[in-house]
Assembly symmetry: C2
Homo-oligomer: 304 residues x 2
Amino acid sequence: MSTNIFAISRGDVRFPTALAAIHDPPPTLWIKGEIDVLRAPAVAIVGSRAASPYALEVARRLGADLARRNVTVVSGTARGVDSAAHRGALEGGGITVAVFGCGVDVIYPAEHRPLAERIAERGALVSEFAPGMPPLKSNFPQRNRIISGLSLAVVIVEAAEGSGSLITADFALEQGRTVLAVPGNVLGGRNYGAHALLRDGAKLVECADDILEELPASLTQPSAGIRDLGLGIGQEKESKKMNPASQDPVLRSMDDGDAYDFDEIAERSGLDRMKLLPRLLELELAGALRRVDGGRFVRFRGPC
Amino acid sequence: MSTNIFAISRGDVRFPTALAAIHDPPPTLWIKGEIDVLRAPAVAIVGSRAASPYALEVARRLGADLARRNVTVVSGTARGVDSAAHRGALEGGGITVAVFGCGVDVIYPAEHRPLAERIAERGALVSEFAPGMPPLKSNFPQRNRIISGLSLAVVIVEAAEGSGSLITADFALEQGRTVLAVPGNVLGGRNYGAHALLRDGAKLVECADDILEELPASLTQPSAGIRDLGLGIGQEKESKKMNPASQDPVLRSMDDGDAYDFDEIAERSGLDRMKLLPRLLELELAGALRRVDGGRFVRFRGPC
């Protein structure tokens, strides 16, 4: 692969917002590919390595349909569901991000080199491990927290009991991200893990719309822009009467010119951390907030 | 078939307790087979007529496993899931009850005559329609309320949108019965109805244990008897110190020698109707309550 490898540190303005919001973000993120894709709203699709044809088909379809709706598909390039999700996203003409449990220059499994190259062309390979790190077994559970940490939601497709994707689901819950699961055949135990998640309150997924429903509409319709965010920014008539931006609890919690990190905004706004992250991403996308060095946010004064 | 057909009226002491508790029980229940089986705890299994091999296998297994645990399997002898559930129960050596949308002497579909004969040998064919009533299309939705009404819980196996088994699920909810659903393939829409129920809070079923968990343990272990019901009846040592039966809210709500119907007991005990029905069946099975003519209950004075 010819693409350059570079590193961004936690305090860097380009460090992914969602990942910066977890309690133990990696100090450094190594990236091979397009760094800007890490700013877009993302959903993880993970599941069985020894996947059934059913699971492969579902992962591929979900990946393609999310990608078509401008949602980045995050996964781990493992055999089975992970690769099917990446391939689906590429088929859908969208962006996919692969999180490695080794250096981004080490392709594992090796047979996935062509897939990794295609991912890096428009998306990104990312890792908290420095280039050259081999795929040690012990790296993978830790890697899974990055998969969920980069994502607003995690979708489990076929997970047997004790599966690695259940670890990712646990991280997602801990990180305040939405957990979703695809149901399947009850005979044979292949879906035991996914069904256990559904029993515990995970959202049931039949198609991509079930996932999109869980995301703020403004994040999946990037053309909507500032006007539709209910901020009043750019709404000239109304802006003369009042400053509707002040009605947003996040913006209201921030003094002009000061920079705040995720925890400070959570505390000052009183917003639930699970709701805060999508809202921050919305505001950032709408241009109402800006990331600054140190990974903090400043309020952007709109034209009104 | 040589078995006799007979009718019991709503006020009859032999009228099934669970069915008597719905708001619109049929005035008469026609029965061909063993009337006593209608006293046992029952679970309905219903689903698609044009069932997939998967749904047929699941229905058969659930039927067999419930029957082995002394739970009566109720269904509608339709093609597909219904028949598979009946057949499973027979294979499991247990009892099954078929609710007809025609007279119990009219077999519909006709190809199910051998199945109906086997059901009536140890279980029962029941109908609110008098002998000779043809299987009018308009009979079936109404028939479905009897399927759920006879049952503590209703399990949906494969139901597409608009399926008749969703009508049964609606009746079950209205009647305060537990609704459960088996998940399956998300491609093709076969399980759209079952998945919609799961989204709405139906319990997810992978195996018979998931259903049994929703029933009072004493009902599925008939050998347990009075001693295990926590009533103190038969517990000689403790009974000398106190009358633990008076601690049961149902028994406490009833004066000795007086007869009460379901609604009266619900009102006097303050118990949720959904919890009251299984409790009444437990107390009846344990001999702490007795049905009397008019379909009412009297408290049975234990030996203590």
